[in-house]
Amino acid sequence: MALVKAEKLVKTYRAGEVDVPAIRGIDFAIDAKSFVAFVGPSGSGKSTLLNMIGCLDHPSSGKLTVMDADVTRMARRAAAEFRGEHIGFIFQDFNLIPVLTVYENVEYPLIMVQSWPERKRRDQVMRLLEAVGMAGQEKKRPDQISGGQKQRVAIARALATNAQLVLADEPTANLDHETAYRVIGLMRKMRDELGTTFVFSTHDPKIMSEAEVLFALEDGRIAERRAATPAPPQEKVAVHA
């Protein structure tokens, strides 16, 4: 069953007097627990598509369903609640909150978005930090850890609320290759362990080969869709290395 389903999805931006099409009527479906990549050059519509799936932006026309909810015209407050309940985000620049520690960054959505009790919160955060290989670094601030470590923390934060869908916009763009492979490997590992659907965008050919399902975007259209059979990440780089 499709976790995300798009039908004739169109997104057009208005730049002054000119309409700029970003997504030009695409259809796709993403199955639950899959590991999906949207690939393509800059301006191909990857981020726009992820923003719409993440209920951060509305399609201009067409229909978009996420977890059986029609999010095409979802109101701002409802969209915020929906994101907080079902979707996790990983950003290219990590976007950790600088005044919070590693632990507090992962804990943040459990306090500010959902309201988990203290003990349950602590168990969840420690479990996730252990899973992403950041156990023992809880008290560090974001400026005290490396880029790869920041992205691990960001992955843990995205998974903190037990989101069924994690969207990652160019999660490896600011990382060196070795670290990028580790991060993608970690994302796959978390998918395997938790059954979370991961959808990420990239323009790095080596990284895109890690995806199980790949949509190649070109000028706002899906130019190619294929199911890949990637090599196990452990063969390239150990996830926790």
Binding site: L56, R77, F82, N95
Partner: protein, 428 residues
């Protein structure tokens, strides 16, 4: 809420210099206002005390029209004995009145046998006058202050008169007065003491015993020009004034309800008699109003300082953290929580400034009281500044600062909470 507080505190700590400067500005504003209120209030109360405790009393009762022509000291507007008796009965049963003193006021010629000048004279009962205006004996700078302050045939004269007429304690002088029938009478007096002149009405008057005044004016019955009243608690002035304004006219058979507007202005109430507060009789009331106006102006300045500084720091905080706001909005933080986060930051700045400012102010007020700063006011010298501030004033100022800080944070916080996450995340 505790978590919002924690994050807000850390955000403030993140921009230490800016937070420090803003909090310092608010603190200085609070200190300036509280110290001003304390010192100006102290000055005002001291001056009021000088007028009420040395000259006027808190409330005075006259025949209607007397105050309007008080410069002439009209003898035909004195209160008659029957009326005075009724007033005494009323005052004796009115709660909150500590003492009252009946006076006969007159204008006279003062002669040292070689020179003559005019003088205003108060005929008083020394014991009752000292009870009604307890600072009055303290004005005697030469001569005995022992009770009774005046014996029959004695006079207390102001320093300016003593100096100008070259009169000393123990000298004999003559007072010549015209009574209300136009006949002139003279009487010799011995100078019992010389009194320090003070600013304000009656500040340069001479004092004799009330029987001497009546004798000088050849009164056939014990008339009274005015009755000065001292209250146990000056804080009950308005209530006592309102009560007397209601009841005094009834004594003269012309009852009326005091007009609240007139009451506020300290204007006369009543029919054949009139009641005035000290404020209506003293030009210092205008200075007191000016002090209140200055205090209001200083408060407005404080509000402006808080608004500008908090608004500035919060606008900058939002502008610098656009991507961060985008992140927390993207991961599902409800707009109201983003709003509360930024409001809390503004609130903490306001609370911090108010608390530190209040502590410094109270310490400053304490220090001023310990150092005992002396100053002169008019002809009164060596007054000691004793600043004090009521908990109510402190609470109001601190409360206003906190509320203004909240209000000033509202617009930036609202802007942050309404931010489009996509735009915010791509903000450079």
């Amino acid at each position: 809420m505790l978590n919002v507080l924690k994050i807000a505190l850390r955000n403030l700590a993140r921009f230490q210099r800016r937070t420090f400067l803003t909090a310092t500005l608010i603190t200085l504003g609070v200190v300036a206002v509280l110290l001003f209120i304390a010192t100006a209030g102290s000055f005002k109360q001291m001056m009021i005390g000088q007028f009420t405790d040395a000259l006027l009393g808190h409330i005075e009762i006259h025949r209607k029209g007397y105050v309007a022509s008080i410069d002439n000291l009209p003898l035909n507007l004195n209160m008659q004995p029957a009326m005075v008796g009724k007033i005494e009965q009323l005052l004796d049963k009115t709660p909150g009145i500590e003492a009252y003193s009946e006076r006969v006021k007159l204008g006279a010629m003062f002669s040292n046998f070689t020179e003559t000048t005019s003088v205003r004279v108060n005929g008083i009962d020394p014991g009752r006058e000292a009870a009604t205006t307890p600072l009055m004996p303290g004005r005697i700078v030469e001569g005995s202050k022992a009770s009774p302050l005046l014996k029959p045939g004695e006079i207390l004269i102001p320093t300016l008169l003593a100096r100008g007429m070259n009169v000393k304690v123990g000298d004999t002088i003559v007072l010549v007065a015209t009574n209300r029938d136009g006949s002139v009478n003279g009487k010799t007096f011995t100078v019992r003491g010389i009194m320090e002149a003070v600013s304000g009405p009656y500040g340069r008057d001479a004092y004799i015993r009330i029987e001497d005044a009546r004798s000088l004016l050849r009164m056939t019955q014990p008339e009274v020009s005015e009755i000065a009243i001292r209250l146990k608690d000056p804080g009950t002035l308005d209530a006592t004034y309102a009560r007397l304004s209601r009841e005094i006219p009834a004594l003269s058979g012309q009852g009326s309800t005091p007009d609240p507007a007139k009451k506020a202005a300290g204007a006369p109430g009543g029919g054949g008699l009139e009641v005035h507060t000290w404020a209506a009789l003293s030009p210092f009331s205008h200075i007191a109003e000016m002090i209140d106006l200055l205090t209001l102006f200083i408060k407005i300045m404080l509000v402006s300082i808080v608004i500008v500084s908090i608004l500035n720091v919060m606008v900058m905080a939002v502008y610098e953290r656009v991507r961060e706001i985008g992140t927390i909005a993207a991961i599902g933080t409800p707009p109201r929580r983003i709003l509360s986060l930024f409001l809390t930051e503004g609130l903490l700045l306001g609370v911090g400034g108010a608390v530190i400012g209040t502590v410094i102010s109270l310490a400053g007020i304490y220090a001023l009281n310990v150092w005992k700063i002396h100053f002169d006011f008019g002809m009164q010298q060596g007054l000691v500044l004793s600043p004090s501030i009521s908990p109510r004033d402190v609470a109001i100022i601190a409360g206003v600062v906190v509320l203004i800080a909240l209000a000033a944070s509202l617009q930036p916080a609202w802007k942050a909470s309404r931010m489009d996450p996509v735009r915010a995340l791509t903000h450079v």
